[in-house]
């Protein structure tokens, strides 16, 4: 008896999580011009409008571009830093790691103002996509570093020693042994930072300027004015994209990465 | 008075098809120290966990003192347990760990304090109450686990290979302490181990397990001297298993080409059978003219004893012998020796 009560309670709470997303999905397939629930029919017209709209497509392209760039830059920097800090004294590495992870303890509104202030004082970055990209890279740095550092941390020195004993040179060891073993960490860093950047809005809000927009920003401005169902279609697509990435992650690396990384503030993303 | 534990016809199959226990029955007398001995995967730990209440048997029943134990949930069984990894609560002090079962029963503070002190004294850890468990050595943590389990005076204590993580000397020391503790508290101890020396050293009786079945139950002496099967003979201590024929008044050992007068112990055995002959019943001496002889292939000096492996014509695997080291002159690798076999202590471990 108590068990079923517990189970039902939990399932109710669990279904509460995807509920708004389900609602949005339902709205997106309703042909009605006004946002209404329940859907009045079934139609993919809003999706068509999304793909046909140059404004939306541009925003999509920009978001993707920035996300890829931010992901690659922050992950590469993370791998280099992890390699660089390998032999560092524990105290040095500790300080460095605290600094790298520092952005995680700042509220996003404060970070937004900070980057706004920073970009405002640099002439060529202000109001450009590179400025936004830099902002995203700064936000992604901790999220790239964590999984990469954890993977390096788990490296067993004796593997490299065994390889060396069998005649492998340092570059070969790096290539054939180290990098393959650290690969899962690198891949999750790439995926995670991509998601962080793609979804980023709070800080990006501070960087709006004429002509600068990302997909989430476009959604936001549409919502402010007059929400139309195309927004629902875009949102649903984003949800499906995320779902796909999560399933991909689960198949390749396993979701344990989210749950098991040392320290529980693994899971700090955007707000 | 705590009563007898009766395990009757217990079977358990794990998902994946592994038959962990197959119709196992065992009676454990009050106040006895019995070991469940066997190689990994033989079911001994599974049986222990069933008695503790963490697994349920598919079939069979368990009664304590005549009452059904297997129907009682784990937390209501008068059974204490010491886990293999000890499972000490990391967020509590030594005293907190030891007092746990009393705190659950909401005993008064004064009573708890006294009983904790007594329990710690019992395991020679007086004064360690306020310490954190992380500051303790392996042996000390062992003792905390014991105190914790015994403080509520359970009818029975189950121990799941508690000493396996310790080094040899410490293990020997704790084996002795366990034995003394058991006698002092007069609690029934059920002890799981894969180490046959350990089992023989401390138990009143041993139950030898193999692939979910009990092959033999008896005292250490019984099991060593009169093993019921080849497996038991080979698992407990070392032995030579040879085929034998009864030939009138004699016993013939074809693999050695040896014929000897049948001893009293083998008087009633006929036909062909398997004999287990312990190394201490194989003696080596300087080569005599006739009789069985062989070449020493390996020797192993163990302080008091010298063990040797002797190659004998006709025998596939070599013969193992053991003798007192100071009587073993001339027993060296490569040397030829004469071999004598004493059948009086041999045990029949199978029809051929």
């Amino acid at each position: 008896m108590r068990r079923t009560l517990w189970t039902t309670l939990n399932w109710t709470l669990l279904l509460f999580l995807p509920l708004p997303l389900a609602v949005v999905a339902a709205v997106s397939i309703s042909p009605s011009r006004f946002i209404s629930f329940p859907p009045t029919g079934f139609s993919l017209v809003w999706y068509q409008q999304f793909f046909a709209s140059p404004q939306w497509m541009t925003a999509l392209g920009i978001s993707t571009g920035i996300a890829i760039a931010a992901s690659l830059i922050s992950t590469t920097a993370a791998v280099m830093a992890a390699l660089g800090l390998e032999r560092a004294r524990a105290s040095t590495r500790g300080i460095m790691e605290t600094l790298i992870l520092a952005p995680l303890i700042f509220p996003h509104a404060a970070i937004g103002v900070a980057i706004f202030g920073f970009l405002a004082s640099t002439y060529y970055l202000r109001g450009t996509y590179w400025g936004v990209c830099l902002a995203h890279v700064l936000l992604c740095v901790p999220f790239a570093y964590r999984p990469v550092a954890a993977a390096f941390h788990k490296l067993d020195r004796s593997l490299a020693e065994a390889a060396m004993n069998m005649g492998a040179r340092p570059t070969m060891i790096l290539q054939r042994i180290t990098l393959p073993m650290v690969a899962p960490g690198i891949v999750s860093a790439l995926l995670f930072t991509f998601i962080v950047s793609f979804d980023e809005i709070t800080v990006t809000l501070f960087l709006t300027a004429p002509g600068i927009t990302t997909l989430p920003l476009t959604i936001y401005s549409r919502l402010e004015q007059n929400a139309d169902p195309v927004v629902a279609a875009v949102s649903t697509l984003l949800v499906l994209l995320t779902l796909g990435l999560v399933l991909l992650l689960q198949q390749t690396i396993g979701l344990e990465l989210f749950v098991n990384t040392e320290g529980d503030d693994t899971a700090r993303s955007k707000s | 008075m705590p009563g007898e534990l009766r395990i009757t016809g217990v079977s358990k199959r794990f998902p994946g098809g592994i038959q962990a226990l197959d119709d196992v029955s065992l009676n454990v007398a009050t106040g006895e120290f019995i070991s469940l001995l066997g190689p990994s995967g033989c079911g001994k730990t599974t049986l222990l966990r069933i008695v503790a209440g963490f697994e349920t048997a598919d079939r069979g029943e368990i009664t304590l003192d005549g009452r059904r134990l297997d129907k009682v949930p784990a937390y209501n069984r008068p059974v204490g347990m010491v886990f293999q990894n000890l499972a000490l609560f990391p967020h509590m002090s030594v005293a907190g760990n030891v007092a746990f079962s009393l705190n659950v029963k909401r005993r008064g503070r004064e009573e708890v304090r006294q009983r904790v002190d007594a329990a710690l004294a019992l395991v020679n850890l007086s004064g360690y109450g306020p310490r954190s468990i992380h500051q303790l050595s392996g042996g000390q943590r062992q003792r905390v686990a014991l105190a914790r389990a015994l403080i509520s005076r359970p009818d029975m204590l189950l121990l799941d290979e508690p000493l396996s993580a310790l080094d040899l000397k410490l293990r020997r020391q704790l084996q002795g302490e366990l034995k003394r503790l058991q006698r002092r508290t007069e609690t029934t101890f059920i002890f799981v181990t894969h180490d046959q020396e350990e089992a023989m050293a401390i138990s009143d009786r041993i139950a030898v397990f193999r692939e979910g079945v009990i092959e033999q139950v008896g005292s250490a002496q019984d099991i060593y001297r009169r093993p019921a099967s080849r497996f038991v003979a080979e698992f407990v201590g070392e032995t030579n298993v040879l085929s034998a024929w009864r030939n009138g008044e004699d016993v013939l050992l074809p693999e050695l080409g040896l014929t000897q007068r049948a001893p009293e112990s083998l008087a009633s055995v006929t036909g062909s059978f398997l004999l287990s002959i312990r190394p201490e019943n194989v003696s080596l001496a300087a080569p005599a003219g006739e009789g069985l002889s062989g070449v020493v292939r390996e020797t192993e000096f163990g302080g008091m004893t010298l063990r040797a492996v002797v190659e004998v014509p006709g025998l596939k695997s070599a013969l193992r012998a053991a003798m007192q080291a100071d009587r073993a002159t001339g027993i060296e690798i490569g040397k030829r020796v004469s071999v004598q076999v004493n059948l009086a202590s041999a045990a029949v471990v199978g029809g051929a």
């Binding site: 997303l21 303890i105 180290t178 809005i201 995320t242 | -």
Partner: protein
Amino acid sequence: MIAPSGLSASPLARLLLVTPKALLVAIFLFAIGTVVVGSVRDNDGNFSLALYDELVRSNTIQILTWRTVKVAGLTTLICALIGYPIAAFIANARRRNLLLVLVISPWLTSVIVRTFGWIVILGNRGLLNNLLRSLGITDGPVRILFTPTGTILGLVHVLAPFMIISILATLVRLDRRLAEAGMSLGAGPFETFLRVTFPLSLPGVLSGCSIVYLLASGAIVTPILLGGLRDAMLGTQIFQEIFALYNFHRASALAMVLLVTSLVVVIPIQWLDGRLRKLSGA
């Protein structure tokens, strides 16, 4: 002794490797610096503590701060209350991966998408009101949108997965034998949970609380869209200051307030978390 990666590089080379990250860290710190500096300047660029003066005297900023703390605090509390049972449920469930997908997917979706969902549900002609009306419970629309309740609801939904994952990570790493030991010592399921499991899972709860509080207090999108601009929080006000009022300095000052109040909450929690971990023998 070779490095775990096998790479043999001089200390200088290693230093160079760290440079990109170090540069990024420096930029970040510099950016924070502009906020600190900006908060003690006035519009003419002179050093001035006027804003902090206003902070101490003015009622508005105090109300703002207090509201932010309240909303963020309530959000954290609710997230902990609903997050723990869910985490415990998932930890013991057999189809854990499926459940994790359910929890993680919303979390990885942009906050704007999730907030949009709540707009649809809570609006005057939204799902909730339609439901209530058709059930005959209310006549007029129940106003949840553009109230602090709406903000809290939205924030809880957005941030609950962080709490769940944080608690789950700790629960999953607990030794199962500890619960069995508790039971072998006579503690029933509930007692075992109370005395053994829960205390050991506290670090995860605390971690989750600090994450959720941090994110809630610094949130902008959800409070603006679901709470409106009338009952502003620090985050929304900061945004207003920059984009509606063009007052960077005021925004910086508010950002400093936000920073300080979050750190005041988060740092003790992290410290407590660290102590608890050490106590449990990390």
